[in-house]
Amino acid sequence: MAVENPVTAPSGDQTRIHNIGYRTYDGPRLGRSYATRSLYSQSLRGAYGLGRSVKSKVLPMLLFVVMCVPAAIMVAVAVATKANDLPVDYTRYAIIMQAVISLYVASQAPQSVSRDLRFKTVPLYFSRPIETADYVRAKYAALASAMFILTAAPLIVLYVGALLAKLDFADQTKGFGQGLVSVALLSLLFAGIGLVIAAVTPRRGFGIAAVIAVLTISYGAVSTVQAIADAQGSSGAIPWIGLFSPVTLIDGLQSAFLGASSAFPGAVGPSSGEGVVYVLAVLGLIAACYGLLMRRYKKVGL
């Protein structure tokens, strides 16, 4: 049986599927930096649920809308009432919306790193040209960018609205610029804290709860102690207390250097001298987060 198989297909049989066999790849191999960029863009898209299931798009998109709607309303009010100024400063907006921002970082930081740990995809990444540092940088940059998009979008809405309402151009542009610097620092800081916490646990639920807890409890505790200090008249202590939560750090930093009015009790922001400590604290925390992530992923090999 099957002594000889005819090599050619019988003629007239047009519907035959041809097995074209294995094709080798001779094209370019773009290497480490391209792979890192690919991971960055995949993670950034993932932070808004793009390229993932419909279910995972809901929360990030919803939070994005929630971030932008108040800005749109403020603009509408400003235009309708022909106000001389926007109801809220650019720098203040993120502080008001901090709950939404915290929720976003709490939901998306574990999404970004815990999944890779939980489903053990990390070894696959490290079996490719990228190194540990590339992975950490790509993930950090992606989440920070996603948060920047989330926090900068409403500022753009405000800015465009302000220009439409024919508010003072120079004044608005300066405020907008200061706002962008502020949210950029906030994005880096929050993304770092979120990732460090999320990278510890492969369990997404734990990650979400832990990030929310760290962000809200620290803010709650700091505000309470600040309020007590204010009530007892020791307002000099307020700026120092503010160093102990991410939100108040950003608040203090921008009221010292970015022309923001402080949300601290009594509206006492840190002085320029104290502000330097704030800047150092913020930059130190960002560096520490990066360092901790590097240490964590050195251990997670194959």
């Binding site: 773009l30 391209y34 696959l124 040209p129």
Partner: protein, 332 residues
């Protein structure tokens, strides 16, 4: 070490007294190997040092001592270049359940440095070659173990590497899935031209798939030989036949007929389920298969099965001395 070097024999992996010591355990102990193109099996019990070896070869874990080269690149200094040309299929699950096979493999292709268009084309090709068709658009979470193994294999092959490391690719598969996977592994070299280093704790399944088998135990090289001379000495055939009115005990009739032709059946191990109905004999080569077929046909019995018995790693340990001698005999 053991391979006889021929003209078309290119060294793919070479190690020189490679050692890896952890604070409390020695994972690899002065291992020297020379692996050529083709399918090479790396056999060892759990904890024998197989995964450690792969980690070192991928340039992810520094060796404590000795050196290793993969595709002519030093693992200590050229890790990234090696990983660009090598594929790796881990032993454990590594697939996110909420994305489709296509999306996942495209992403992994890009992680290997393939431009977006090439990544998509190669993904479609590779998934087809490993045998995933319509289901590749569905989330991986709903796949069977066999399908997941195929996706894992596809991500290791998608960038057209020169060499793939497959860590226990048949783990968790049923016998049919196992045979499919072994056939696929064979094709990776014969059809795709990609050399393979495949680990397993089952020697038998590697015998049939590999050109060359390396056995390690406790981080030491136990044996390294090509499978052709290896299987000839160890292949055991299991034969099962039906009974007929003429021959109420078909097995015995075949045993006697074979005895008349000068082939002795081995003592069937008692205690084995159905051992009384299975005839075990040592295959001397192609002729033995033909002989069994003819004998069974002459007796008018039905041949239920004739299969190669799978050898377990333990057999290597029991015959260790004998094989040491053999390895020396083949050594160069």
């Amino acid at each position: 070490m053991v391979r006889v070097t021929t003209v078309d024999d290119v060294t793919v992996i070479a190690t020189e007294s490679l050692s890896k010591r952890f604070p409390r355990v020695t994972a690899l102990d002065r291992l020297s190997l020379d692996v050529g193109a083709g399918v090479t099996g790396l056999v060892g019990a759990n904890g024998a040092g197989k995964s450690t070896m792969i980690k070192i070869l991928l340039g992810l874990s520094p060796a404590s001592e000795g050196r290793a080269e993969v595709l002519g690149l030093d693992v200590a200094t050229k890790g990234a270049a090696i990983r660009e040309r090598v594929g790796y299929m881990p032993e454990h699950d590594c697939l996110p359940p909420d994305v489709s096979a296509t999306e996942f493999v495209v992403h992994m292709a890009r992680m290997s440095g393939l431009p977006p268009t090439a990544a998509r084309e190669r993904t479609a090709d590779t998934l087809r070659h490993v045998g995933l068709y319509e289901e590749r658009y569905r989330p991986i979470g709903g796949y069977s173990t066999g399908m997941k193994q195929r996706v894992k294999l596809a991500q290791a092959l998608v960038h057209d590497p020169q060499l793939v490391f497959l860590d226990e690719p048949t783990n968790g598969l049923d016998p049919v899935g196992r045979d499919d996977m072994l056939g696929l592994i064979r094709r990776i070299y014969t059809d795709f031209g990609i050399s393979v280093l495949v680990t397993s704790h089952l020697l038998g399944e590697l015998e049939r798939t590999c050109d060359h088998v390396v056995v390690i135990d406790g981080g030491k090289l136990l044996r390294s030989s090509s499978t052709t001379d290896f299987t000839q000495t160890t292949t055991t055939l299991a034969v099962e036949v039906t009974d007929s009115d003429e021959h109420p005990d078909g097995t015995r009739a075949v045993r006697e007929a074979l005895h008349a032709r000068g082939v002795e059946a081995l003592d069937s191990q008692s205690g084995l389920p159905g051992a009384g109905h299975i005839l075990l004999l040592t295959a001397q080569g192609e002729e033995t298969y033909d002989l069994v077929r003819d004998v069974v046909a002459d007796l008018g019995l039905g041949l239920v099965r004739m299969e190669q018995r799978r050898h377990h790693i333990s057999e290597v340990f029991t015959n260790e001395d004998e094989q040491r001698k053999e390895a020396v005999g083949h050594g160069s």
